[in-house]
Symmetry: C2
Subunit: 544 residues, 2 copies
């Protein structure tokens, strides 16, 4: 006798094994909630039927424009409907979506366009200047498309056609691309990482699909959820909410700028229920509320991550009426893989203790298989005592495929069979993780990563600089900003001022990467010539 479970008739077949893909979320939303508003942007409204129609038109138009499966479509735009449409339309053409950080300078944009071999470049008109400059530097010659957003301010046309003209070339009824394997690439997100050149993180349909379900479940979203875009859509595809909102048939509310008044107004006008943001956004809400007297009339859930949020910020945000959910993840993990899953028993703690509980990064999400904090060398997990530090490591279906064209960095990222975050944390007795020291050299400013090495590279280019080291400096507005330590070359000709160095950086770096403070003097190094940055950070704390 035998159960013969390996018999051929029990193998996978198209009726019981389908690629997991977020593309299905859009089709379902259009079927189930066709007349519900999917996207709100200023005076614009798109229902799910219209949104799906436009996404399919975009897919068709891209295919008619010669975009082939596995090629890249880049987009440089603030949080607008076109970016949401690209999240479905680009993969529905079989192409890879690359959403660019709108704060990047021309050189960085050019590097990325070349690196991903962009075939099409969609540009919000307001960002035409930097895009034009990037295109002049870049080797690739993508089809350039101007997004004429009605709320864009200034800018000029630099493209071959407008976004609406592109859409009109497409036909919504044409068949679109569908992944054959759920591990196929869906999008590409560049992270500055710890080295100078940005690395292209490859997302897959499976990882996005599971992250979407996890985000919706942990953040308790449903078809009545109204999601406000205070998180950049270019940041890990908006923590996958660009796709996830479709899965429940909720509503997107776009915002080009993140301003406290606009946020409170949108909450009031559209009945916003959920939003995400770096602690910087929380700080802005706290300041804005104090300044304007604006208040919430009903609770709004805020997911925050991107830097360890000070407990005081969490406390003050909750005092405004927001329900704070603290999450953690990485670009390489399709965004959120950890959250401070709340115990109702903590509700009764005094506010300070409650905020400290909430400031911990917490535990793995439901779709994350394994998260450990371990010795980076031996991979032995640290004891759960709140004291011994280790590196946060993951094994998860939300792990990236790898870095585009970068096998070495990919192998390093997965060294030892785990995704290495580079973040150091302790594990408390209750199993909740708390980050104690972020990866050595990353500076997180307004939720965006700044590689200290990239800034150092620029400083080293200054003719008077002999040595430079950049570390994070606390900043009330941005969370962190770069602070540079500089050793000058000897001689009176090299006596430059802080202003001159900052001016030099401005010419070579995106504005947000420019150091706010320069400290001149000798930089202590180890016997092997390495700078110990934790010492420099202590120095910064002392002088700040």
């Amino acid at each position: 006798m035998s159960l013969d479970l390996d018999a051929s008739y029990l193998q996978k077949r198209p009726a019981n094994f389908r690629p997991l893909t977020p593309l299905n979320f859009l089709l379902r939303a259009a079927d189930v909630f066709p007349d519900r508003v999917a996207v709100i942007h200023g005076e614009q409204r798109f229902t799910w039927r219209e949104h799906a129609q436009r996404c399919k038109q975009l897919a068709s138009a891209l295919m008619h424009s010669g975009v082939r499966s596995g090629e890249t479509v880049a987009i440089l735009a603030p949080n607008t409907p076109a970016v949401l449409e690209a999240h479905f339309g680009v993969p529905m053409a079989g192409a890879i979506l690359n959403t660019l950080n709108i704060r990047l300078d021309a050189a960085a944009i050019a590097f990325i366009l070349d690196h991903c071999e962009a075939r099409v470049f969609l540009v919000d008109k307001q960002l035409s200047e930097v895009a034009k400059a990037a295109l002049e530097i870049a080797q690739v010659k993508p089809l350039v498309v101007d997004i004429e957003d009605p709320l864009a301010e200034g800018g000029e046309r630099i493209g071959t056609l407008t976004y609406e003209e592109l859409l009109r070339k497409g036909h919504a009824e044409e068949p679109t691309y569908w992944p054959e394997d759920e591990f196929e690439v869906i999008s590409l997100n560049y992270t500055s990482g710890t080295t100078g050149n940005p690395k292209g993180v490859l997302y897959h349909h499976r990882g996005v699909y599971l992250t979407c379900l996890s985000q919706l479940l942990h953040h308790r979203m449903d078809s009545n959820s109204i999601y406000l875009w205070t998180l950049p859509m270019f940041h890990c595809n908006g923590w996958c909410f660009s796709w996830a909102v479709a899965a429940v048939g909720g509503t997107h509310v776009c915002q080009r700028k993140v301003i406290a008044e606009d946020i409170f107004n949108a909450i009031e006008e559209h009945g916003v229920t959920h939003l995400c943001g770096a602690p910087t956004v929380l700080g802005m809400l706290i300041d804005g509320a104090a300044r304007t007297g604006l208040k919430l009339t009903r609770p709004v859930a805020v997911m925050t991550a991107g830097a360890a949020p000070p407990a005081a910020i969490l406390r003050d945000t909750e005092a405004l009426g927001f329900t704070v959910r603290h999450v953690y993840g990485a670009t390489e993990l399709h965004s959120v893989t950890t959250l401070c899953d709340w115990h109702r028993e903590w509700d009764d703690l005094p506010p300070e203790e409650r905020s400290h509980m909430m400031a911990r990064q917490g535990v793995r999400t439901v779709v994350t298989d394994a998260m450990i904090v371990a010795d980076p060398v031996t991979l032995d997990p640290v004891p759960h005592n709140g004291a011994v530090m280790g590196e946060i490591l993951y094994r998860s279906n939300t792990g990236m495929k790898g870095y585009l064209k970068n096998p070495q960095a990919t192998e390093e990222a997965f060294a030892g069979g785990w995704y290495r975050t580079g973040d150091l944390a302790v594990v408390h007795e209750d199993g909740y993780v708390e980050i104690k020291d972020r990866s050595k050299d990353i500076i997180i400013s307004g939720g965006e990563n700044i590689s200290s090495i990239e800034v150092e590279d620029v400083l080293f280019q200054h003719p008077s600089v002999s040595y430079a080291a950049v570390v994070a400096m606390k900043d009330d507005r941005w969370g962190e900003t770069p602070c540079a330590f500089i050793e000058l070359k000897p001689g009176p000709a090299n006596q430059v001022t802080q202003e001159e160095v900052i001016e030099f950086c401005r010419a070579h770096l995106a504005k947000f990467k420019v150091p706010r403070r320069i400290i001149f003097g000798p930089i202590e190094r180890t016997a092997t010539g390495k700078v110990q940055k934790f010492r420099l950070r202590k120095l910064v704390e002392q002088v700040a």
Copy 2:
């Protein structure tokens, strides 16, 4: 230039590609909510730490008892902690869980034990009589284990050891089995189907995992959810809630019997937030409330399926304070794949219209790729006009692997590349599906399938019966019960009464399968000798 997306370093690796399995939910619940109550049963309480511990002990004990990967462990028990433990403990031993319908007769149980080649048979003491009778008939000689539930009434020990003795043979710290492929079998659920012998539906880890996430998302469950077991755990593994509750770290409340008073008491005592049940259960709640005056003090979500619920029942259930969610699916689809996803606009409809909206089966769940209603022969989808009927077909990751040892029935079930439900429905203009006629011959009584052919087979065995046909008859309590049409053999010796026929059936069938009504007389057949059951159903309606 090329992106080289097929490069070896971008392939799946253990750090970014893990088998989707509900087993992970248990480990996470034990890590995140170790001290929260996982299971309530009478005076018993198990925390998630204890529950996980017992599941691991069970897995270890089964392996030490010689159970090998791919072998079956059967369990015959009402909704008790042991069944929940088996949902994790059995697959953690690499074995297949077979939960038996506790209303089956000895012959049916024996058939199943033999068919699945049961290695271990866990039996609730109260069900020892039928289990013992089944074991006497069965060919297989499984290890029999007595579950001595403190709330069991009567029964005797029939096994080699008790369940607690078995657990003590296991060690929670031993490594357990983990699926290598998410398409591996996790459980086996027998359905009576349309033919006489039950068919064994093979569930896979991937299908269970996705169904769990879908159930939690659509039914808005979280770590504060208290789930009451009014649905049999043996029914599609309790619509996968046996596993799903662990994914959020909620609480199970067990119930051996489904009695209105007990349900209202449990809701009050334990703060129940969610429960599931056939419309029969809703009817019981309505009657119970009318009889006892019991009321809800806060809203409770009720998921109902298993038979098209009369709109009046939905209306009356909502009037009691329950939030009704109407769902639909099949044993072959890991349970629920369709739900009447609610439009908030319908809240304002008059109660009658609102109930009619809710009585529709609705639309596919978020994890269901495709559901169509189509001509069963051409597979052309029917127009969305609320009039043309077609068969409901699915392509979904929640499709079963197939029927155990039954390639022919499996190919029939997936004929044309779709899972064929055999249920006939219309599609309304808004895309919502409504079942108009269920598959030709299945009778659904109290949420359980009864094969009319099986009942006919028994009737045909009666010495006086020359022909028999069984169809569903509406029943206020059970939804449907079997009604038998009988042609008697000629001659005075064959003049039997309704009572005598029913008595004969009782001796050969589980009680719930026994026809409640016998109609004597000639049975119209087609030229090819087939009975047109829709005509018989009309006759029953006329005489009822």
